[in-house]
């Protein structure tokens, strides 16, 4: 069962993507970034696997469902999607408890203070207190510079382009990387099974 969660400012911002996908699975909107907070997500897209007992069995992996951005990311979707199919069929690919713990990113004082600053900034923005919102959103970005759900996700809230110069400056400082990325075979050769 896929569950997709959009970290957007409103249902309207998520609407074009959800309607284009016409999903039969739950496709949810998370304006408060609750899932980012609960799962310690620092960049999107990310996928994680939850087993039948409600346990995380494969933590964050920066993977893509399509090859739209493959030129830029150098990641192909097919190998990961094949892994997911194998997992659904046979359970293969699920990691043991020790590996899940080891490969999961760990929250820190700074990362969680950044989340509090973002939550406050978001609340103030919704209330129309824009200059106060900016103070807290910018502070959040300084506290967790490699949390792009905060730093990049705040750009549209601040009226800036998340694909523009502010983003390029951010990217030049370094990109958030989940530990699993190095282990997932997204550059596997084409198996030719179409």
């Amino acid at each position: 069962m896929p569950i997709t969660v959009a970290l957007e400012r409103s249902a309207d911002d998520a609407r074009p993507f959800i309607e284009a996908a016409a999903p039969t699975h739950p496709s949810l909107i998370d304006t408060g970034h609750r899932v980012a907070e609960l799962y310690h997500i620092t960049n999107v897209p990310t996928m994680l696997w939850i087993d039948e007992q409600g346990r995380i069995c494969r933590p964050h992996d920066s993977q893509f469902g399509t090859d739209t951005f493959a030129e830029v990311t150098k990641k192909l979707s097919a190998p990961y999607l094949e892994m997911i199919r194998d997992w659904v069929r046979t359970g293969a690919g699920a990691l043991d408890a020790e590996d899940v713990r080891r490969l999961q990113p760990a929250p820190s004082e700074e990362s969680e203070l950044a989340r509090a600053e973002r939550a406050l900034g978001w609340y103030l923005h919704q209330r129309g207190s824009e200059s106060a919102a900016r103070v807290h959103l910018e502070r959040a970005g300084r506290l967790a510079p490699l949390d792009w759900t905060i730093r990049r996700g705040s750009l549209p809230i601040l009226g800036e382009n998340p694909f523009g110069p502010a983003f390029f400056e951010m990217a030049a400082e370094g990109k958030p990387e989940y530990a699993l990325e190095a282990l997932t075979p997204t550059h596997a050769p084409d198996t030719g099974d179409g």
Binding site: P2, I3, T4, V5, A6, E8, A11, D13, A14, R15, F17, I18, E19, P26, S27, L28, I29, R34, V35, A36, E37, L38, Y39, H40, V44, P45, T46, M47, L48, W49, I50, E52, G54, R55, I56, C57, W87, V88, V100, R101, A106, P107, S108, E109, E112, L113, A116, A119, L120, Y123, L124, S129, A132, V135, A140, R152, G153, L155, P156, P162
Partner: protein, 135 residues
């Protein structure tokens, strides 16, 4: 003098009152605003008690100093006294412990039609959680 104050606690907005003086925020409602109460053992909520060595640093004007309360609870605090609002993060140790337990935290969010869905609706199935954005 009491003024309205909003506490954002893990996605929930708590409407309360505060006295703001010299940048410090005091909640006349005391720790009860966050569901804690004073007992002999310290600050308690349900089965959990946190020993408090220096209660005087917490208590203020018959209520509780918000920053001192947040520190005692181990919860990072973002505060804007002038705007009458603050947000509390979860204690990093608690969040780490929960993630280390591998229990997938439950959440309840709306779809485009406004219908609410919870992760816990799907226990018993494998769930692929995909988080994405337009940015």
């Amino acid at each position: 003098m009491n003024r309205p104050f909003r506490l954002i606690d893990q996605g929930r907005v708590i409407e309360t009152e505060a006295i703001v003086r010299d940048g410090a925020v005091v909640l006349p409602g005391g720790p009860a605003v966050l569901g804690w109460e004073w007992k002999d053992e310290g600050l308690c909520r349900g089965d959990i008690c946190i020993p408090v060595r220096d209660a005087d640093a917490l208590r203020a004007d018959g209520g509780v100093d918000l920053a001192a309360l947040a520190r005692t609870l181990g919860r990072p605090l973002a505060v804007d006294p002038a705007e009458g609002a603050a947000a509390l993060a979860e204690a990093p140790a608690d969040r780490s412990a929960r993630l280390a337990s591998r229990a997938a935290p439950d959440f309840t969010l709306p779809d485009l039609a406004g219908k609410m869905h919870s992760l816990s609706d799907h226990v018993g199935k494998k769930v692929l959680l995909v988080v994405y954005a337009s940015w």
